[in-house]
Symmetry: C2
């Protein structure tokens, strides 16, 4: 199996498929954070955190600015757009289904009234 999450969507969805990484993104919504600040809520080594951040970076969801020995991470939510747009297709699909359902129910109601 030769799988490198080369595809951007793969990388993005994979990055999001983990509560730790989603938590980190949420944490970054309130602004730039250093690696250790990001690590703080989690009971795991910095080495592990470092890897999580790297995945977020590879997926383009997080950007890093190195200043001396400190690494500042910030959210790049814009790069979630592709994945969001992908899902949007399905949102339309399920809304379409609901619209159809609604139409059917309305039709049923009219049926009753004229009975």
């Amino acid at each position: 199996m030769v799988k490198h999450y080369s595809d951007r969507l793969d990388a993005t969805f994979h990055a999001l498929a983990c509560p730790t990484r989603r938590g980190m993104l949420a944490s970054l919504m309130s602004g730039e954070k250093t690696v250790s600040a990001l690590a703080e809520p989690y009971a795991m080594s910095l080495a592990a955190v470092s890897k999580h951040i790297k995945k977020l970076e590879v997926a383009g969801l997080v950007e890093r600015k190195v200043e001396g020995r400190t690494h500042y991470c910030r959210l790049n939510a814009k790069n979630m757009a592709e994945a969001h747009a992908w899902m949007e297709r399905y949102r339309r699909f399920w809304e379409g289904k609901l619209d159809l359902l609604e139409a059917l129910l309305e039709a049923e109601d009219r049926e009753k009234e004229t009975k």
Copy 2:
């Protein structure tokens, strides 16, 4: 490591992090399909396809109706809603950033005009 993708979001994003499974969902947009129909575009065994479908099922994205020896799969796009909603938060975030940028540019423009 004890990870079971118990969380619904985990399961959903994980299911989506694979081109094969995304392809299957896309294929189901045009209507119900049997397992072998779903498998047809892919150069892999039915056994492998079966496992992919199961993941989509566990994530609640696909539902199965067994009729005799044939299994009919259909899309349940509605169960993508949670993941979509999760991303929506971030869409607002990046739109907010764009709005802010726009505001800044406008402010700059006004600056120039009054100069």
